[in-house]
């Protein structure tokens, strides 16, 4: 019921909304919950497991019952949803359903830095922020609500003025801080934006949560926290019930009593203390005692004390206040039990806890704490301020509280966690089964695991466990507080990192040509590389066979710009590369190129590629496409941390150069046309050399004779600015030879036919150069990183897995990559001894059959043996061979 006056709602702005299909009205400034109460709707969806009727229980983020789905967003608390015009909500029993595509809502993230972050915009938070900002420090105040006028509160008629004057004060209203990480890194959810806040100082003014009392049938609609009842009356001018009982263990509920009386409600007080204080208005009956049970068809109609039954439609409960220590605890601050509640003890980061969050419930004391924290923080960040005057606050005398953890009754209907529907009976079962740690009881009963993070159940649960074990809650300690402390949607965490922005896509300067010519793409690291170029009507297999045939019999071209490229410069560049690569580079002549392989210190192959020597003190290193960044990091690591005395420096030039491979018996003719100034004869331009020249269209180029296919082949390197122009020139000049663009699949087939391994495909970090059959590349003269490991007993084992070829007995059968190979006489019932696995497998145009590479135990000594690949529905038999399938003599390299 809406009261005729009062509240902070704007009665000139009526709003309509729909709940469970029924239209209602509310006002600007309402929450969904306050508007529901204004319309007499207190009851929400039944509970998750027991299907018991439930009602709005709180007025904030501690709400366990009133969960709603608003549009695409499930599991929102009606008590924190701001009412908007046309809002459509549905009540939920415990769980909601994620809408798969909430594409119409945009989520985002922001990074910000602040000198002082104040969390909580109540009186203490506002006081702390106002104080801290006065000297010019950058201050950010994050709170659920931030009224634009003076913040008024009990006992302070003029309140705290808004702090809008300070130039560097930023206020996020309607925001929730939910995660507190190392070095004062705090995550804040604010509407559709996730703020990542890095603060030099944090002031936590997160307040406290009122705790319920556990008694029989304590879960009916109409039973609410006392502070919530007061908040509904004073902030929203709604009265949740006309005939109220207030059940309390402490003084704070008497403010609710006053508010109820003032709103015209009839009130009876039940106070757990033997001598309740004289705080109730004239005419209100105060009983010393306990509520033992409640009654009602669904909504509450009566409550019972030990000796009385009182008719009522509202029961306001206050079991004391637990400081909201979630964020402080996440920051690794420790907690201490003060006999009533867990309060912050020792901070672990540069933060301060003030006010109710610190267990300081007296307003004046809280404001003093907040002021001191603000002054301290301002000084610490270099913008000192004098202590400001305190607002006038009436002092009060407090009668000590008398906590009640459990009122005797039927434990099956004494609810400890309303959201999880967990009862005292569940706790007794856990304790009876021998559990003592709250962590164990929590997991067994699920108490505190709901979306409300146990704000109204953790402390009562500890109280009940303690009572069962005959100890105090302080002896038990709390369970661990973890982020997020309020529900946060996955969509918010993802922000705009979705779709094409989810992960970067890297493209080469020639990418547009590939797209225009119908390439299918493959992801290699972040790169999009052409996989194959199907012609109309071609499937992948046909296209790849055609591309392979062109490279073996005519001429083909590939965009190899994705290769990692590093310039290694300095007088000791050769010495440095000698220490990195298994083979030698120091004596490589200027103008020549050499293939090299690198190992990690454990002797396992790490990367490979061709290096050219541009000058005495300058090398041009290429790496695998996926390994570029790792190799540069590797070089820097050794250079900086082990051999700073070597004169050598590294610069990544991956995008500086575009690289185009031109491959096949006709490649010499094409290169001759593309680079007219170049003598392309084998004598003038031999294998593994390079030449600087100018292309037919005037572009400067560096052309190398490098082959990854065994064919006569060239690599044309030009500035990235000219990558597309060079590609077009080669394509044009190659037209008379029917030059064929090819993709990564064809490249893989061609190299596999020659038995060239691909690091990362045929190796997996457990493979040495010897395992690959490449002992020829391992220098005996010099040391290199990993060399000593190759002598380790395990690395030198003769029966390690070797890279070998596999030829399926049926030449049409294609072994799947990754298939495990077993001996032909192995029993096919587990455990089946594995002999190794297929690393690469293709159809070969030139071999007119399928073939594969595999890592097989002792494989080099098993040539000719037949192994089996059991694939569930079938078994493929294959013969172990040498890994080189084509042109074993290397006759094709020079054309």
């Amino acid at each position: 019921m809406r009261l005729p006056e009062g509240g902070e709602i704007d009665r000139t702005k009526p709003l309509t909304f729909t709940l469970d299909g029924v239209e209602y009205s509310g006002f600007e400034g309402d929450t969904l919950a306050s508007a529901m109460i204004a319309n007499g709707v207190l009851q929400v969806a039944p509970s998750l497991y027991r299907h018991r009727p439930r009602g709005i229980f709180s007025a904030g983020i501690e709400e366990p019952n009133a969960l709603v789905q608003v549009g695409p967003e499930p599991s929102l608390q009606a008590t924190t949803v701001r009412l908007t015009d046309g809002l459509v909500a549905r009540t939920l029993s415990g769980v909601g359903r994620l809408t798969p595509d909430s594409g119409q809502r945009r989520y985002d993230k922001r990074y910000t830095h602040t000198d002082v972050l104040v969390i909580g915009a109540g009186p203490a938070g506002r006081m702390a922020a106002t104080t801290a900002a006065a000297g010019g420090a950058r201050v950010m105040l994050v709170g659920l609500s931030y009224p634009s006028g003076n913040v008024r509160f009990r006992g302070s008629p003029q309140g705290i003025p808004p702090a809008d004057g300070a130039a560097e004060l930023r206020v996020l209203s309607g925001a929730r801080a939910f995660g507190y990480y190392d070095s004062n890194y705090v995550l804040v959810a604010h509407q559709q934006t996730l703020w990542h806040v890095r603060a030099r100082r944090v002031i936590l003014a997160t307040g406290a949560h009122e705790q319920p009392i556990v008694f029989e049938n304590n879960d009916r609609p109409g039973i609410m926290l006392a502070g919530a009842v007061r908040k509904y009356i004073t902030n929203y001018a709604v009265l949740p019930g006309r005939k109220a009982v207030v059940f309390t263990t402490n003084d704070s509920a008497y403010a609710t009593v006053a508010a109820l009386v003032q709103s015209g409600a009839e009130v009876t007080v039940v106070d757990s203390r033997p001598n309740p204080p004289d705080l109730a208005p004239q005419g209100v009956e105060v009983i010393s005692g306990l509520i033992t049970n409640t009654d009602g068809p669904e909504r509450l109609t009566a409550v019972s004390t030990q000796d009385r039954r009182i008719e009522c439609d509202l029961l306001a409960v206050s079991g004391g206040w637990q400081p909201a220590v979630h964020l402080f605890s996440q920051s690794r601050g420790t907690l201490r039990w003060n006999g009533q509640a867990f309060v912050p003890d020792t901070p672990a980061q540069a933060n301060h806890v003030v006010g109710a969050a610190n267990g300081t419930f007296d307003t004046r004391a809280a404001l003093i704490e907040a002021t001191e924290a603000g002054v301290e923080a301002a000084a610490a960040v270099g913008y000192p301020v004098p202590p400001p005057p305190l607002p006038a606050v009436r002092e009060r005398e407090i009668t000590p509280a008398s906590p009640v953890w459990l009122v005797p009754g039927d434990p099956r209907n004494q609810f400890v966690d309303l959201q999880r529907d967990a009862t005292v009976a569940d706790i007794r079962r856990a304790v009876g089964a021998g559990m003592r740690s709250p962590e164990h009881v929590k997991r067994y009963t699920t108490i505190g695991t709901g979306t409300d993070q146990g704000r109204t159940s953790n402390v009562p649960a500890l109280g009940v466990i303690a009572a069962e074990l005959g100890v105090t809650p302080g002896d038990l300690g709390t369970t661990t507080f973890r982020a997020p402390s309020v529900p946060v949607s996955f969509a918010l965490m993802a922000g705009r990192d979705r779709g094409k922005l989810h992960d970067p896509i890297r493209t080469t300067p020639i990418h547009s040509w590939h797209v225009a010519h119908g390439a299918e793409f493959e992801n290699v690291g972040h790169w999009k590389r052409p996989w194959f170029y199907p012609k109309p009507g071609e499937d992948m297999e046909t296209a790849v066979l055609r591309e392979c045939r062109a490279a073996r019999t005519g001429v083909a071209m590939q965009d190899a710009s994705t290769l990692g490229k590093i310039e290694v410069v300095g007088a000791d560049a050769g010495e440095f590369l000698n220490r990195m690569y298994t083979n030698g580079f120091k004596k490589l002549p200027v103008g020549s190129a050499r293939y090299g392989m690198m190992c990690k210190a454990d002797g396992m192959v790490f990367d490979d590629g061709v290096t050219m020597r541009l000058a005495d003190d300058r090398y041009y290193v290429t790496t695998t496409t996926g390994g570029a960044a790792n190799v540069l990091d590797w070089f820097e690591e050794w250079s900086q941390t082990e051999w700073p005395e070597l004169d050598v420096r590294f610069t990544s030039v991956t995008e500086q150069w575009s690289t185009i491979a031109v491959v096949g018996p006709q490649s010499r003719a094409v290169i001759g046309l593309v680079a007219p100034d170049l003598d392309v004869s084998n004598e003038a331009f031999p294998f593994m050399t390079f030449r600087e020249t100018t292309l037919v269209n005037g572009i400067p180029a560096r052309i190398a004779r490098i082959s990854f296919s065994g064919e006569l082949a060239y690599e044309v390197n030009v500035s990235g600015w000219y990558g597309l122009a060079a590609w077009n020139a080669i394509h044009d000049e190659g037209k008379p030879y029917d030059i064929t663009p090819y993709g990564t699949e064809t490249m893989h087939v061609l190299r596999a036919e020659k038995g060239f391994p691909i690091v990362g495909q045929d190796t997996d970090g457990t493979v040495t150069p010897h395992d690959l059959g490449m002992s020829w590349i391992v220098s005996r003269q010099k040391d290199f990183v990993g060399k000593r490991s190759l002598r380790r007993p395990d690395t030198a084992r003769p029966d390690r897995k070797h890279l070998v070829g596999l030829l399926p007995v049926d030449p049409a059968e294609l072994l799947p990559e990754g298939a495990q190979m077993v001996a032909s006489d192995a029993p096919l019932t587990p455990p089946v001894p594995m002999e190794g696995h297929v690393t690469s497998s293709y159809r070969s145009a030139v071999l007119e059959r399928t073939f594969a590479l595999a890592l097989i135990k002792n494989g080099r000594h098993r040539i000719g043996e037949t192994l089996l690949a059991p694939l569930g529905d079938r078994v493929i038999a294959a013969t172990v061979t040498e890994p080189v399938f084509y042109d074993k003599e290397g006759a094709r390299r020079d054309g």
């Binding site: 990074y111 705009r496 094409k500 896509i505 300067p509 004169d647 610069t651 995008e655 500086q656």
Partner: protein
């Protein structure tokens, strides 16, 4: 038609400053080689990390204790040879990155973890950092503010896509 093509040629709504000359210089900061390079540039190699020194039409960005990026205008083709020194690593990286100009701090704060508040970052500062999921050299050229993002060519379209998308959301989240 020019044979040169910048990574963001034709990309709508993005201010690309293409074809700037960029030379990576790595040299011991205190030696003769560094002194000779400074002399030829007409401006000292800055020694405050993440700062920028202007030398006529060129700018010298300090990237690390022994590393600088010298940025000249389009067509400054003599720059690499000008800087070459026997005991320095001088590498032409003009085509390695392209340059995007951005005039909003707010926009960058959607994807950059650096503190860009004028008290912490201002004209004459540069930083190697991440924007969204790509590495950039961020360089503030004016306090208006104007920023330059030097991004690898292969990541340029991703960054342009990200900036375009973020521009759409800054208008609503302020």
């Amino acid at each position: 038609m020019s044979l040169r093509r910048s990574p963001l040629a034709g990309y709508p709504g993005i201010t690309e400053i293409p074809f700037l000359t960029m030379v990576n210089v790595r040299v011991r900061p205190t030696g003769d080689a560094a002194a000779r390079i400074s002399e030829r540039l007409g401006g000292p190699l800055p020694v405050v990390p993440n700062s920028v020194v202007d030398a006529g039409s060129r700018h010298i960005l300090m990237l690390g204790p022994d590393e600088w990026l010298v940025v000249g205008p389009d067509g400054d083709t003599g720059l690499p040879d000008l800087l070459r020194e026997p005991s320095a690593s001088v590498v032409d990286v003009s085509a390695n990155r392209t340059t995007i100009e951005v005039r909003s701090r707010d926009l960058l704060e959607h994807g950059c973890t650096l503190d860009l508040h004028p008290r912490a970052f201002h004209a004459g500062r540069c930083a190697q950092t991440m924007i969204a999921r790509t590495q950039v050299i961020l360089w503030q050229t004016s306090d208006e503010p104007v920023y330059r993002l030097l991004v690898r060519g292969s990541f340029a379209t991703y960054l342009a896509d990200w900036l375009s998308d973020a521009t759409g959301s800054t208008s609503s989240t302020g």
